[in-house]
Amino acid sequence: MANFSLKVNGKTEQVDVDPTTPMLWVLRDHLKMVGTKFGCGIAQCGACTVHLGDNAVRSCQLPVSAVGEQSITTIEGLSENGDHPVQKAWIEEDVYQCGYCQSGQIMNASAFLKKNPNPSDEEIENAMHGNICRCGTYTRIKKAIKNAASTQSA
């Protein structure tokens, strides 16, 4: 066990955990922030996506010991009132069905749009390839990303 001081959603959090513990479980079990979802545990589905600095990462493969000073943003911290352009676009396009994978989809999409504010269809497809939606909302996710891109640039 070891002590870690983590910057999560702008706040400093202290945890005493095994250094190999993935951030996914630090968030869910220790910090009780359950918006970040467990899907596969091997970085194949994207349900656990968070931002490490400005990058979208799979928190199930990110040991707490590798975080260091970098800030972590989760779905709970993406915006204060659920009004990030990507969140708004998701509501506008009524994307979700079961909704379970969507926080990972939103975190991946928001990091991607920051780097590429005006993506083509193909760029969206490639960027989102690591996020599985078992309900099959892919066409709506793409629409929502384009919608968010146009609002952001407006």
């Binding site: 918006g35 989760t74 969206i124 099959g136 892919y138």
Partner: protein
């Protein structure tokens, strides 16, 4: 104006009372629409008459509709209250939807399965809204001393024009609670609906995009520990012994022990279908600690029955299809004679593998079984059955068992089988402490309850003019006999024979989105395409000819999930028109067509592959649907799109295979699911506007798309696809 009775056989579907603190409560039966015949009444479960939904109107005019149904992603939590709100004549913005408070003594929940939620509750929901509206009008009539017939309502306001009086629903709610429940109420005409048929966004949208704890796996309770399981690595293997010493000494681990989840002699429910009798439980402070301890654990398993292989399943199914039964499922005319006179005979065999459900939220359940009571909470579609299993397993009266339900991160049939709830309860009882059981993805994927593996052999005979004169279908599946003998093309061909077989296997199976249809539709619709080609006819025209014949000699009863050829032909004509199908392929895109009927809804699809793209890619799907009245088009289209992507994905990429009883796929690195760039670029849906009572959409768009895909791939590549997943038969979707 349609008048409907609020009672049946002297039992009332509606109850009313005053709301504590002022206002009106209407309790109603969501299943009041079943319109039972007198003969059916004696056999009908008494719960069908029980009050299981609630509608509250507060003095502030806010309407709260309590939904007893679990949300799995079909959007019933939004669509069902829309029906109540429309009949009530209230502004949708003033409606709150809440999951019903969880009291199993009051709330008899209906099963969320078979795309039946909307179909079964349509009448009951309308009745509830209309009854509340009538009582509000009655209250106003008495208060204002005017005839009720002169009072009108609109968007939550009650008005009497002649005396220039008006009031909000909230103002009349408490008085309305003192009115008699009317014996019959009038319902709106379809043309007067102003919420039904309009796009309304998911009521939980904001919670979903902000990561609120809605799912079973999100449950956090004081003093709760995490539990995980280790189940046998193969079907046909059972627990023998273990060495848990090193695992037990690991940080955070509270205990490691074998559990008899289903001891011999325990009274099981159908929902315990794929149960594993004995496994090992690991209990610890956190999920990660449990995962580490599982790795350190040494469990010895022993062979307890056959260790089966995929090759063996395949052989056994093929063997069944080479036998004949003396008792066919359906036989019309004389196929033997007809095949002798046929000028062309086409015979093809299709197959599909086992599939896992792979809900994105792995199985999990919270349980607190201490002393003489059990509290459970989690994602389950069949709480009543789980309650019965627990009563037997824990030797506890059902009154002491409280099961609550959370939103579910996907179902697809998997959460009908609540073995994980029993496992959680047994673990909690042993620990005498609250626990949350969480499956790893591997536990989930290798645990069974799969979509069965199937094989079907079709034989069709054509006469000189290319008319279908004989049809013989033989189907077989693992623990499932596959064939719906009264569905198309029964009735459309004079000489028809259907035979079905079931292969007993120890690989456990269960319902998987659109059971049986999820395979048979694709096979049948790909075969029809080949037969139409042999007949030298356009595939849509060929099908329409068959429907014309079926209209003249209808088969079965549409109420019993048999088909109505007119509605079937209707969706095919609609998709033909919308997709601009002219049979010529002039536009360069390879197109395939397919149509199917299941779960009381009709679907026809045209699928276009992108021009000159290798490997092929789905460009666009046109989908025509007849599900009667559409409650919420935006949500309905979402279901259709999801089913299409799901169908394309599983038919193209997914399979569960077995070596010596061991599943060969255990996570998303080996089990391939469809991803963003493999999905169609565009899906456009159209509805037949016929005013018929609504039917469901959770399943019907999935089955036929597999046929449309196979038929389009043939046009693009010249290769027919007979065996799923198509990726095993090149070329594949890229």
């Amino acid at each position: 104006m349609t008048l409907i009775k609020t009672t049946f056989n002297r039992r009332s579907f509606i109850k009313s009372s005053a709301l504590a603190g002022g206002g009106l409560v209407i309790g109603f039966s969501w299943l009041a629409s079943c319109k039972p015949t007198p003969e059916q009444v004696n056999n009908m479960p008494k719960e069908w008459f029980d009050i299981n939904g609630f509608l509250k109107i507060g003095e502030n005019g806010m309407v709260t509709i309590m939904s007893p149904n679990p949300e799995i992603g079909q959007n019933v939590k939004t669509s069902m209250p829309m029906i109540v709100a429309d009949e009530l004549d209230v502004d949708w913005n003033n409606v709150l939807v809440e999951q019903a408070p969880l009291n199993t003594d009051i709330f008899q929940r209906q099963l969320a399965g078979g795309s039946q939620s909307i179909r079964a509750s349509w009448g009951g929901l309308r009745m509830a809204g209309a009854t509340a509206r009538h009582m509000l009008i009655a209250a106003a009539a008495e208060a204002w001393q005017v005839p009720a017939s002169e009072i009108t309502t609109e968007a939550g306001m009650i008005t009497h024009i002649a005396s220039n009086k008006s009031a909000g629903y909230g103002e009349m709610a408490s008085k309305a609670a003192t009115m008699e429940v009317p014996e019959e109420v009038s319902l709106k005409e379809i043309k007067d609906f102003d919420i039904i048929g309009t796009d309304r966004r998911n009521v939980d949208g904001l919670k979903l995009v902000t990561g609120k704890p809605l799912f079973g796996i999100d449950i956090q309770e004081e003093g709760m520990m995490i539990a995980m399981i280790v189940h046998p690595p193969a079907f046909g293997m059972s627990y023998k012994s273990m060495d848990a010493e090193s695992a037990k000494s690991m940080p955070g681990i509270k205990d490691v022990f074998p559990i008899d989840v289903y001891p011999e002699g325990m009274e099981k429910q159908w929902s315990d279908g794929g149960a594993i009798a004995k496994m090992v439980a690991v209990v610890g402070e956190t999920t990660w600690q449990c995962m580490q301890a599982k790795k350190a654990l040494k469990v010895e398993w022993e062979k307890s029955s056959t260790l089966e292989n995929t090759a063996g399943h395949d052989e056994a199914l093929a063997k069944l299809l080479n036998t004949s039964t003396k008792e066919p499922a359906r036989s019309d005319g004389n196929v033997v004679k007809a095949f002798k006179s046929a000028s062309q005979i086409i015979e093809r065999t299709f197959s599909a593998p086992f599939l896992a459900h792979n809900t994105m939220e792995p199985m999990n359940f919270y349980a607190d079984v201490t002393g003489e009571r059990a509290i459970l909470n989690g994602p389950i579609q069949t709480p009543e059955f789980l309650e019965k299993s627990l009563a037997s397993r824990l030797d506890m009266p059902v009154e002491k068992i409280d099961i609550q339900m959370t939103r579910m991160g996907g179902g697809f049939g998997r959460r009908l089988y609540g073995t994980f709830g029993v496992e959680a309860a047994v673990i909690s009882q042993k620990m005498q402490a609250p626990i949350k059981l969480v499956y790893s993805r591997e536990d989930d994927m290798t645990q069974g309850t799969y979509r069965p593996t199937y094989k079907v052999k079709y034989k069709a005979g054509l006469d000189k003019e290319g008319n279908l004169i004989a049809w013989h279908v033989k189907g077989a599946g693992s623990n499932d006999d596959l064939i719906f003998e009264n569905r198309f093309p029964a009735g459309a061909v004079d000489n028809y024979l259907a035979e079905k077989f079931s292969l007993e296997t120890n690989v456990t199976t269960g319902a998987w989105r659109a059971p049986r249809s999820n395979f048979i539709a694709g096979a049948e619709q790909a075969f029809i395409d080949e037969v139409a080609e042999a007949a030298g006819k356009d595939p849509i025209e060929f099908r329409l000819e068959l429907f014309d014949r079926a209209i003249k000699s209808p088969v079965g009863d549409p109420e019993k999930n048999d088909y109505d050829p007119k509605r079937y032909a209707g969706v095919l004509k609609l998709v033909k028109e919308k997709s601009g199908w002219d049979g010529s392929m002039k536009n360069g895109a390879a197109r395939g067509v397919s149509a199917y009927y299941c779960h009381n809804s009709y679907v026809a699809q045209v699928l276009d592959l992108a021009e000159d793209v290798n490997p092929p890619k789905v460009d666009k799907v046109w989908c025509a649907v007849d599900c009667g009245i559409v409650i919420n088009p935006m949500a309905a289209k979402n279901q259709i799109e999801g089913g299409i992507i799901d169908g394309i994905g599983h038919a193209t990429y997914s399979q569960m295979t077995f070596e010596d009883g061991k599943p060969q796929q255990s996570n998303f690195d080996t089990y391939r699911l469809i991803r963003h760039k493999e999905a169609p670029k565009e899906i456009e849906s159209f509805f037949v506007d016929n005013g018929i009572d609504p039917t469901g959409l959770g399943e019907p768009s999935l089955p036929p798309i597999i046929g449309a895909l196979a038929n389009a791939l043939y046009k693009a590549t010249g290769q027919r696809h007979y065996n799923q997943p198509f990726i095993m038969e090149k070329p594949v979707l890229g």
